[in-house]
């Protein structure tokens, strides 16, 4: 290698940046941050913040004892849940503690919605929990209708329930695929995507969009469903059971899969309630709490279904719970199509809604749990405060509780069974 003359060498851009930063800090009188102290000779520590811990819990996680190590399962994930960072403290292979670091996908949707009209808000909330966009729109629609004091027409409510259950079918179907993928099975996710593709084509036929639907309006839905669509739905309905059971056949009775999921990540019912878990995760731990039955919204009090629970609360139970809920959703779809009345699909509301000042709370059962919206109106065209409570956000608190004692390899399995979607977690 030829020697480079220091006089004529082109400086590395990072050196220029560092020099400039130092100069700025000196000029402005800011003290530069101290670089991290390396722990082992030559090895860099990852995950330890370069400042002392500010809270008790942070000190607990980031203080290493003899034989412990911090492993950073970084924002770029090999799994499909989204960008999330898990700092895992391990002792050889066993996880001792875990700290999730969030905020990589934070878009400030709540603040954004304070400057949007009520109808525009319904388009902004879609990309939160993007796998279940219809539920994201349903909760604000309920809250805004309470604020405005109207009810959607019956046919609109039936269509809403139909698209919401379709959304639930493909969201749970994909979760099966994600769980298998995080364990190394390459095929179930592709079968799940076949199922999703067919379902999403149906939803595109209704709403014009494949993923972020923009279908709900305050007072109803945007478009009606035609009879041709209903016959297309029947064709789909005849095929979907088979495609789901094909996928199930690869996973449910597979020895390797059951050995890796039974008895893993057990969450007891009481702990789940204390942690605020909801949805299939809570029901798989034995607590029969389903918002559709607990506080019925839309037309769920006219449909006949039971709340399914499993008692073991492990990864396998959460998986079985979702498979059972797919079948339940298909049963609900059948009833909805049977009972759908004729009528208008949107109440008469003006273009820009100005509800009277007040507060309203609307909650729905999304595939991940209790999804709710708390909206405050001040009489103007924009909501004064628009708060969304996302179930995946709260469910993530379960990770530091469930993980200690398991191996690193189980982190992916347990997280996939909780089925978080980072768009909802980070809003």
């Amino acid at each position: 290698m030829t020697a480079v003359d220091p006089e004529t060498r082109i400086p590395d851009p990072i050196e220029l940046d560092r020099a400039e930063e130092a100069r700025l800090h000196a000029a402005l009188g800011i003290e530069p941050p101290r670089p991290a102290e390396p722990e082992y000779a030559g090895f860099e520590t990852v995950g330890i913040p370069d400042r002392p811990p500010v809270t008790e819990r942070e000190a607990e996680v980031y203080t290493l004892e003899e034989g412990e190590m911090l492993v950073n399962m970084g924002p770029q994930h090999p799994s499909t849940h989204g960008v999330m960072r898990l700092v895992v403290k391990v002792r050889s292979e066993v996880v001792v503690d875990l700290d999730p670091v969030l905020g990589y996908l934070h878009r400030g949707i709540e603040k954004l919605c304070e400057n949007a009209t009520y109808t525009t808000v319904l388009t902004y909330v879609d990309p939160m929990d993007y796998m279940s966009a219809m539920h994201n729109e349903h909760a604000p629609a309920i809250a805004f209708e309470k604020l405005y004091g109207i009810r959607a027409p019956k046919r609109a409510e039936y269509i809403r329930a139909l698209v919401v259950e379709l959304n639930r079918v493909f969201s749970h179907g994909l979760m099966m695929g994600f769980l298998a993928l995080d364990m190394g099975g390459l095929t179930p996710i592709l079968y799940g995507f076949i199922n999703r593709d067919e379902t999403v084509e149906l939803l595109a036929a209704i709403s014009g969009q494949r993923m972020l639907f923009n279908f709900f309006r305050v007072g109803g839905v945007n478009w009606d469903v035609s009879d041709e669509f209903i016959s297309r739905l029947s064709t789909w309905r005849a095929n979907v059971g088979r495609s789901v059971s094909d996928n199930e056949a690869l996973i449910t009775e597979n020895e390797i899969f059951t050995a890796r999921t039974k008895g893993m990540g057990v969450l007891s019912g009481d702990r789940a309630i204390a942690l605020g878990v909801s949805g299939p995760n809570l029901r798989a731990s034995g607590v029969p709490f389903d918002v559709r039955k607990a506080h019925p919204y839309s037309i769920y009090d006219e449909l006949e279904f039971e709340v399914i629970t499993h008692s073991s609360g492990d990864v396998y139970a959460r998986y079985l719970q979702r498979v059972a809920e797919i079948k339940q959703s298909l049963h609900l779809i059948d009833q909805i199509v049977d009972q759908m009345p004729h009528g208008p699909v949107q109440a008469q509301v003006p273009g820009i809604i100005r509800p009277k000042p007040g507060r309203a709370y609307g909650a729905v059962e999304s595939p991940r749990g209790l999804y709710s919206v708390y909206a405050i109106s001040d009489g103007g065209p924009n909501p004064y405060r628009f708060r969304m409570r996302d179930p995946s956000f709260i469910t993530l608190q379960v990770m530091p509780v469930l993980m200690p004692g398991h191996l690193i390899a189980d982190t992916m399995a347990i997280m996939a069974s909780l089925d978080p979607i980072m768009g909802g977690v980070d809003k």
């Binding site: 220029l16 700025l24 500010v54 819990r57 934070h106 607990a294 708390y374 708060r387 608190q397 809003k427």
Partner: protein, 189 residues
Amino acid sequence: MAGALVRALTDRFPELAATLWTDEDTVELQIDGSRNVELLRRLRDDPELHFWYLADAAAVDYGTTEHFEVVYHLYSDLHPAWLRVRARVDRAEPHLPSITGLWEGAMFHEREMYDMMGIVFDGNRDLRRIYMSPDYRSFPQRRDFLLPDDAADSSAAGVNPLERPETWDLSRFRDAVTESDEAAAKGKP
């Protein structure tokens, strides 16, 4: 629909009856912030009320001259209505007892309220930022935090040196900067 619940609440908390509000599916109570743990504990543990599920904990900012509010939504299987508890917090000194002792799952809710509004929960073991980076110095969801196109007036303005043109140093682009550019930078036509 909420009649039984209203009666039960007015029996147990007569001092709150004045500000109790209800419509067909929600009952609302208003309290001062410091009483939140006591009230929520009684709501949860009373066998006739039995509000065992914390559905939501949100923070609302009523304006720069007004107060904050922390709003809890609770669910009970004995009563079909949602219960909303609005806890009033002083804006100048936004401190509130933490309910993580009652529901472990309130931890992330309180971290988010701290991060976005700046409300400090006493007794919370892990009150640090959750969405914003740990060294962020402002509270985005307050009413006086302006959106990025008004970033120059927000309380987080100027933290980043790139937002302050006087700190820019163009000397390393000396070759590329021509005389007309220099003249334009100095404001001459």
